[in-house]
């Protein structure tokens, strides 16, 4: 979320103070995995209801991309995706909660920035790339930003999208007409009421708005705006490299599985695969699990219980969900996206 509001300042302030105590906690942090095992579950930070990423459903169960990122860690350590607990946190609380040990890991739409990284956090691989986009009625026939000459755009005052719109307008000589509102609901209402041609915001926020606030979501398209991306990545505290490794690689399992063609449905058949890469990946040829201090079946268990990255994305924010957001930059590298599989060796 990119609003230059007070919550951000609070977060920055809290992170700065937090870094002072980070050193003090380092001595204890060495045993995060032991603490988790003793306790019996991983504790992850979650949002207060950001659908597709982390939100409690009707029956109170947490669902979403960030939630499954956390569950993968639970499967790696315990072999059971239910051994994860979620603590709802506001945007300003989340970094402090991680630094004070209230949670073990923070997979909660947090942008990987230099200052956060320097102030006591270690970021794992991004599990989602966010970008600015326009929401437009399909009947306008717009497929890229350059075709938006003279369009009026609804946006919030004080958000970074204001700069994006001005820059785009100048760069491509589009003569975009910004129409400003002071809060999110008003901006959306104005757009869906036909006050402007386009609405600009984060792609995932637009997809959610399209799913929840339109009569027929198919009447609208999402067009990437600027080509600037933000990496949203799970993070852990400084000072425990072993747990950091487990967090990094339990997410990598999801990417590598998609790259290798291993899915939740075919993972059992893949155990018999002749491909040495698949054999090493699934622990048929052991070694990877031991290197991380985990069960040799850890990667198999993650895919068996959660599916690979593509399946998880589609289930929560992609084509199999009501949100129907395009994979876009979140495709695998070989498909033209930014998700890069590492070598399981």
């Amino acid at each position: 979320m990119k609003f230059l509001n007070s919550a951000r300042n609070w977060a920055a302030c809290a992170a700065a103070v937090g870094s002072l105590t980070a050193m003090a906690t380092a001595a204890h942090a060495q045993q995060t995995v032991e603490q988790i095992k003793q306790r019996g579950f991983v504790i992850c930070g979650a949002s207060q209801g950001n659908v597709g990423f982390s939100a409690p459903d009707q029956s109170g169960a947490w669902k979403g991309l960030d939630v499954d990122t956390c569950r993968a860690i639970a499967v790696a350590i315990f072999g059971d995706k239910e051994k994860a607990r979620f603590v709802p946190l506001s945007g300003s609380q989340r970094l402090t909660a991680l630094q004070t040990g209230e949670i073990d890991v923070l997979p909660r739409t947090t942008t990987w920035t230099l200052r956060r990284d320097a102030n006591g956090l270690n970021f794992s691989f991004p599990n989602y790339y966010e970008y600015d986009a326009f929401l437009l009625p399909k009947k306008l026939g717009v497929t890229e930003t350059k075709q938006m000459k003279g369009a009026s755009v609804c946006l919030q005052t004080g958000s970074t999208t204001e700069v994006t719109v001005a820059d785009l307008s100048r760069e491509f000589k589009l003569d975009l007409k910004p129409i400003l509102f002071d809060n999110v609901p008003a901006t959306r209402q104005a757009f869906f009421g036909g006050r402007c041609d386009a609405l600009i915001s984060d792609a995932s926020a637009l997809a959610t708005a399209r799913a929840t606030q339109t009569k027929n979501p198919d009447d609208y398209v999402i067009v990437p705006a600027s080509g600037h991306y933000e990496a949203l990545a799970p993070s852990v505290r400084h000072g425990d490299d072993r747990f950091y490794d487990i967090v990094k690689w339990s997410f990598q399992v999801l990417i590598a599985a998609e790259d290798l063609g291993v899915t939740q449905a075919n993972v059992d058949d893949q155990l018999k695969s002749n491909d040495p890469r698949v054999q090493r990946f699934l622990g048929v040829e052991p070694g990877n699990g031991q290197a991380l201090g985990l069960d040799e079946k850890w990667a198999y268990n993650i895919i068996k219980q959660l599916g690979n990255y593509g399946e998880i994305f589609d289930k929560h924010i992609g084509q199999n969900s009501p949100i129907k957001l395009d994979r876009g930059p979140n495709k695998l590298h070989k498909d033209g996206g930014l998700m890069f599989p590492l070598v399981f060796n």
């Binding site: 609070w10 809290a14 103070v17 937090g18 002072l20 105590t21 003090a24 906690t25 204890h28 207060q48 209801g49 950001n50 659908v51 597709g52 939100a55 409690p56 459903d57 009707q58 029956s59 109170g60 947490w62 607990r85 979620f86 603590v87 709802p88 946190l89 506001s90 300003s92 609380q93 402090t96 909660a97 630094q99 004070t100 040990g101 209230e102 609901p185 959610t208 799913a211 929840t212 606030q213 339109t214 009569k215 027929n216 969900s321 009501p322 949100i323």
Partner: protein, 344 residues
Amino acid sequence: MSPLSVLFGSLGSAVLTIALGAVLILVLPRIIQWGVIDSVWSANDGAACREATGACWAFLRAKFRQITFGIYPPDQQWRPFLAMILLFACILWSLPPRNWGRSLLVLWATAIAAFLILMQGGMFGLALVPSAYWGGLPVTLILAVSALGIGFPLGIVLALGRRSAMAVPRILSTGLIEIIRGLPLVSLLFMSSIMLPIMLPDGMAIDKLARAGVALTIFSAAYLAEIVRGGLQAVPAGQEEASRALGLSWGQAMRLVVLPQALQKVIPPLTNTIIVMVKNTALVLVVGLFDLLSSGKAALTDPAWPSPFTETYLFIAAIYFVMCFGISRYSAFLERRASIGTAR
């Protein structure tokens, strides 16, 4: 006065009546059209609501439990239900003045303990549900009850402290009241939820809900203290002097003579602050607690439904209104009771 002369008795009231009548005639049909005629009362998912032009009450039916109990594990939701009934029963029992006494304190202590055991579990064969999983109306209720139940006695102590002739309690009370009053509640909540954990020694953690509860309690205590002090100022000094002359100790004089008179005089502002504090509990939303309002907002994010904001907020507003109006009527009853001796 007859109804007709009330409505059209003077030129002013006639104009007002006609103007308000016109507004009603314009607005009421639309509300009925939206809320009743065009509305969807039952549906399994949001499809029917997307088509309809009226209210989506079906959403509230589907999400009733999620809004009322938040993220509490569904198979355990009889526990917050029972806990809520318990609190309501205690509140109702405490209302009639004839039930006031020492035994009421014992009852409340037992009720709060039972509430916490029911909600938290981890003993008597109940599954452990950490407070991060509590949500909805029970959270709102326990925050309000603790903010007022502990805040009120604390406020009385602060008020007496501020009027004390001894320097130390006077300076301490005045300082605390002025500092807390000078801070917005939101910043107090931020302090308790973000700064406090950082300042605590490593490995020591205070529950998130408890931290917010403490912030609300201190805040309400500071405001209640000033109201009580206003009441104390209004009691003539002769009352305390006479009590002391009769041989009562300072504590007895306060408890039996001064405070009863002081509190009677400030029922309206007390009610005001109590109602404000009940509504202020909704601010814990900023520190990531799932109170009634946050649970409603979380329910609204379900993409299967067309986010019926108006309906959900109306429902939540109705719950708050029932609570606050109830408090207001009760205080009116107490005022009447207090004025029996002096009314004409």
